[in-house]
């Protein structure tokens, strides 16, 4: 296990470095420069030169790269060009919101998907399946913003049941993550974006659960369990579900990583102050340090969760972990 862990960590470091370097290249080799945000009738060539120098963009590329990696190692993501604050503190404000949104919606999607998938595995070939599977696929096929707008129109604009956007009601103190989590107002705001994401995300766990469940149910040990006179419930819970959950759990970890960056669209529709929106806004306004910081953080979350998924699989499935121990 330790060797597997070390191996995975080394791998993690390599991928992180590669992703960080790629993002540096991407942002620095792109045309255009951030001074373009400041265009106003009083903007002059001197203004530009001063700004460029202040952003450190007058140095040679390799120097910028070295500095970038060094700062990254120190956890310093630089200063936002436009917000006048350290990128890290801006991201630290946004990341928890995204994590909460992701965990809640993914959790809901997986809870539903697992139960519904297991149910559909039992009712294989029936009328329920003929309706449920296309329905699950359809929600997964709908563009998130389309789905989100339909929900917003129906449940917020027309009826006023849910707020139209944001994470807190106007003027509520921003507070810490902890205070947000115990605030009813926050959950009320979370409901619609989380529902939209959950609807979008439920398809995968549902289908995966169903497929693996079917596979597991055909395994000999399930027949054996029946022969042992075990109850149906105990067969499903102790044997089938536990085995079928392995790939689903792995998919959950992978989904967690992917969703942190994939929420961009939903965050925009619902004005959710998460890291995806920080990225989009920063990219649109050429706030390089902020955009890059957000990108690297999203990528890091993804890489990290990929590794967690690997390790989770190894931990949950005794066949893998013991194999590694040898």
């Amino acid at each position: 296990m330790r060797r597997l862990l070390l191996d995975r960590l080394g791998h993690l470091a390599f991928v992180l470095w590669a992703v960080a370097s790629l993002s540096f290249l991407l942002f620095r080799l792109a045309p255009g420069d951030p001074t373009l945000n400041f265009l106003s009738p009083t903007f002059t060539e001197e203004t530009r030169a001063v700004l460029l120098r202040s952003f450190g963009l007058d140095r040679p590329l390799w120097e910028q790269y070295g500095l970038y990696l060094l700062n990254l190692l120190r956890g310093d993501l630089g200063m936002s060009f436009l917000q006048g604050r350290p990128v890290l503190s801006l991201l630290a404000e946004a990341l928890p919101n995204t994590i909460v949104l992701t965990v809640v919606s993914l959790g809901a999607a997986y809870a539903f998907g697992i139960v519904a998938g297991a149910f559909l595995a039992f009712r294989r070939g029936g009328a329920v399946e003929a309706v449920a599977i296309p329905a699950a696929l359809a929600t997964r096929s709908a563009p998130e913003f389309w789905l989100g707008m339909l929900l917003l129109t129906g449940l917020a604009f027309q009826t006023g049941w849910f707020p139209t956007g944001g994470a807190l009601s106007p003027g509520m103190p921003a507070g810490t993550l902890g205070s947000r989590l115990v605030s009813a107002d926050f959950w009320w705001h979370l409901a619609l974006p989380a529902l939209t994401l959950a609807l979008y995300l439920q398809g995968l766990p549902l289908l995966l659960m169903r497929a693996t469940m079917l596979e597991v149910l055909s395994d000999e040990f399930i027949t054996m369990a029946r022969m042992k006179g075990l109850s149906r419930w105990s067969i499903v819970m102790r044997h089938a579900a536990r085995n079928a959950l392995l790939p689903v759990a792995t998919a959950f970890a992978l989904g967690l990583g992917a969703s942190i960056g994939g929420n961009v669209v939903v965050e925009t529709v619902f004005g959710w102050p998460g890291i995806g929106r920080v990225l989009v806004e920063a990219v649109q306004s050429a706030d390089y340090p902020l955009a890059q910081g957000a990108f690297v953080m999203i990528a890091a979350a993804l890489v990290l969760m990929n590794t967690v998924a690997d390790l989770a699989y190894a931990m949950l499935d005794p066949r893998v972990s013991v194999g590694a121990r040898r």
Partner: protein, 296 residues
Amino acid sequence: MPCWTRGCPSVRGASAVFRLLRNEPFAAVGGLIYAVVALVALLAPLIAPYNPREILRTGRRVARYMPVSAEYWLGTTSSGRDVLSQVIYGTRAALLVGLTAAVAVVAIGTVLGLLSGYLGGWVDKAVTRGADVVLGLPFLPSMLVVAALTRPGTAVIIGSVALLLWPNTARVIRAQVLSLRERAWVDAARMTGCSSTRIMFVHILPQVLPLAALYGSVAIGWAILAEASASFLGFGDPETVSWGVMLQEAYANQALSRGAWNWFTPPGVAIVLMVMAGFLISRGSEKLLFPKLAEQ
């Protein structure tokens, strides 16, 4: 070259597809959707009542927000364009984006998967490492950054989908190739003097193509959704008539508040159907590929 082509079980492919269509209603529906879309795309100029980009007028004024009528079956947009014609022409963009991206994903993924699985060694290492790095790049954010920093539009979307989604295909193909290369007929081919290239591309490739096609059909959906998302965030190509751009226009112009369901709904439904078709096909063929499930 005599080699072993007859010994390969790939001949089963065609009849399997036929059986699939008969026994798999899901896949058949998916195929039907694709067929209809392809037909509409082909005949677009004949079916569409208007040029989808034309700004229609009533007198001097632009014909904005015309309701559903005999003249405009699905009404018009805020800029006075015929919704039905746009939906019809949208099939072309959907096919272009979807198919090109899917073919690219399958091509890159399959070739790299083949090379890495069959050749092993440093090639394998490089490909796996590369795949890991690419899997570490968040899909939508990467596409947005590239689109924002280069030229937004269809090409960037297709390119991003191809460059970011190949690792999934490559991984599966690699695993498949690893098991195939141990088979007797590969040994036999090797002994009859087939070159590695030939074994890979003439013998093994046909074996893994159905699996790759499965990933391709899902990639079609991804590409279309990606195009919609990118358009929504303002990184699409508004000059093309696509469902994603339509939705974005409807969103940006508040079609819902205008009560213009006739504008907001059709492109969304079209996207759902098209993406779903890919999923349906891949779900159906899952039975072909994983016969263990089919036995149930």
